[in-house]
């Protein structure tokens, strides 16, 4: 199950895409105190489609983006412009419009590897609950892909994302 996308500026290609997957059957029920393991893979490609195809060549299961909770962009990438990636994500039927958008002050890869939920065993649940903290705190916001895209297309609004 794919949980998270991370986008950085590539070294050899245009973008560096980091994928985070949960291990199948990693419900965390066997050892309640342990955090369920996840797998992180990074590839460089010209676009999202190429990156997904590349990952599909060495991952035993087909990558499915239906359960993708969060898309992370590095600040450097965001400064260069992320409209191409946003359009690609919007055009993919698998990606949900309520996927959250995060801009990371570090690289997206660093952000993903450093996420260690302390009060949650399941990473998937952590990613789902994380943006909802905007319901009880004013320090963050719950920004969905569809909101970001609508504002990107709008003549009167600027898109905003969660800064981490």
């Amino acid at each position: 199950m794919q949980l998270l996308f991370g986008f950085d500026v590539g070294d050899t290609e245009r973008i560096k895409v980091t994928f985070q997957f949960t291990m199948p059957n990693s419900s965390g029920e066997n050892n309640p105190g342990e955090t369920a393991p996840s797998v992180i893979d990074t590839v460089e490609a010209a676009c999202i489609e190429s990156a997904v195809n590349l990952v599909n060549t060495f991952v035993s299961k087909e990558v499915n983006l239906s359960h993708c909770k969060i898309v992370v962009f590095s600040e450097e990438m965001a400064k260069q412009g992320i409209s191409k990636e946003i359009y690609s994500l919007m055009n993919k039927v698998e990606v949900r419009p309520d996927t959250n958008i995060i801009i990371s002050t570090s690289t997206a890869e660093e952000y993903i590897t450093s996420v260690k939920p302390s009060l949650e065993n399941l990473v998937a649940k952590f990613y789902e609950i994380l943006p909802r903290s905007s319901e009880y705190t004013g320090y963050t916001s719950d920004i969905h892909l569809i909101d970001f895209f609508n504002k990107l297309e709008s003549m009167s609004e600027e898109p905003i994302a969660i800064l981490r």
Binding site: R96, P97, E128, I146, F149, N150, E153
Partner: protein, 374 residues
């Protein structure tokens, strides 16, 4: 014929299938593409025009109780005009079934079955059509009546569940690309009311002969409401550039619905309901096609050639080579076919038949037209 009679509610549901299914496919998208922010005003405008046309059609059909458009064509121009009208309507029903079948199957393929051939999905629908038509017209119409409230509920539900995501300012400027585009060239959006085609064939099937007016107005008003809600949903939800690019825009709207963490991804339920709705629509259109064919050739039974018709539809539906060609057929050709045949040729036929009736009435004093005389 007695066993094929249908009630008023069944008839209303039958006409509504057209709008419901086209709303799910590309109808609101086309209206938004042509009228932009004035789409809501345009829908209100074309709905009023459709009510007026409906009133006009009812008045014209009053002289010919229990007769469908083929009988009226026979009265006006004899056997050859009946055959010509029959061929046009037969072509229309088969064309509609083929295009809608292909379009919906392509959408399903993109969403759920990216590796399955589109022909396999179409075959499943065609098998269903053959089975429903073997069961009979009554069964199709009653099932459709049973499911219609659910079909309409999905459209209204998507609107109300998305209210929180709406940007109502998207309906500004009110006249969109201008008054000319909204009210004059926007008239072409009348093709949304393609359900009129069934209206011309309904009189012989109605239990209540005087119910045609009620059926016409009820179906047009409910169709208008469905169209209004679906157009409003898409217009308020996303920018026009997004709506006009989507395969099933209403599906896109349904994906935004969530109630807390527990009720998410309701779109699969909507798609299941729309598949049932599409099956009902295809079965009804197919049933009318076989009935027109039967009437043209005076066949006693329809059941034996339904499979042949399905093969024809299957072949015709596979003609568009890609989505671009399919969208062109669906958006442009279908639009002109409806406008020319349903609102042009058929209305002209009814007007001339009424003129002939009046002339004969003046000549002979009184004319009694019934099936036997025709």
């Amino acid at each position: 014929m007695a066993d094929k009679k249908i009630g008023n509610f069944e008839a209303i549901a039958l006409i509504l299938t057209v709008i419901v299914n086209h709303v799910v496919l590309n109808l609101p998208k086309n209206i938004i593409a042509s009228s932009s922010s004035s789409s809501i005003i345009n829908v209100l405008f074309i709905s009023i025009i459709a009510v007026l046309i409906g009133y006009f059609v009812c008045k014209l059909l009053e002289r010919f109780p229990k007769l469908d458009i083929l009988d009226i064509a026979n009265f006006l121009g004899g056997k050859w005009l009946k055959i010509l009208t029959g061929i046009l309507f037969l072509g229309y029903f088969l064309f509609t079934v083929s295009v809608v079948l292909r379009s919906f199957s392509e959408g399903l393929k993109i969403i759920f079955f990216p590796r399955s051939p589109v022909a396999a999905i179409m075959i499943l629908f065609l098998i269903t059509i053959i089975i429903t038509n073997k069961i009979g017209f009554q069964a199709i119409v009653r099932s459709n009546l049973f499911m219609m409230p659910i079909f309409i509920f999905t459209i209204l539900f998507i609107f109300f569940a998305n209210v929180g995501n709406f940007t109502v300012q998207r309906m500004l400027p009110l006249l969109g690309n201008g008054a000319f585009t909204t009210f004059f060239s926007g008239l072409s959006n009348l093709f949304a009311f393609g359900g009129f085609a069934y209206l011309y064939f309904l009189p012989p099937y109605l239990k209540d002969d005087k119910g045609l007016k009620k059926i016409t107005f009820a179906s047009i008003i409910i169709s208008g409401i469905c169209l209004l809600f679906s157009v409003a949903t898409l217009l308020f939800l996303s920018p026009n550039s997004v709506i006009t690019e989507e395969v099933f825009p209403l599906y896109l709207a349904s994906r935004n619905i969530e109630f807390g963490r527990f009720f998410q991804r309701l779109d699969a339920v909507f798609l299941l309901i729309w598949i049932i709705s599409l099956t009902a629509y295809l079965s009804i259109s197919f049933s009318f096609a076989t009935r027109v064919f039967q009437k043209l050739l005076n066949f006693e039974y329809t059941k034996w050639y339904t499979a042949l018709f399905c093969l024809f539809i299957f072949g015709f539906a596979l003609i568009p080579k890609n989505m671009y060609e399919l969208i062109f057929v669906e958006n442009v050709i279908y639009q002109y076919v409806v406008l020319i045949l349903i609102f042009g040729i058929s209305l002209a036929l009814l007007v001339f038949a009424n003129i002939k009736y009046n002339l004969l009435e003046k000549k002979k004093g009184a004319v009694s037209i019934d099936k036997a005389s025709i």
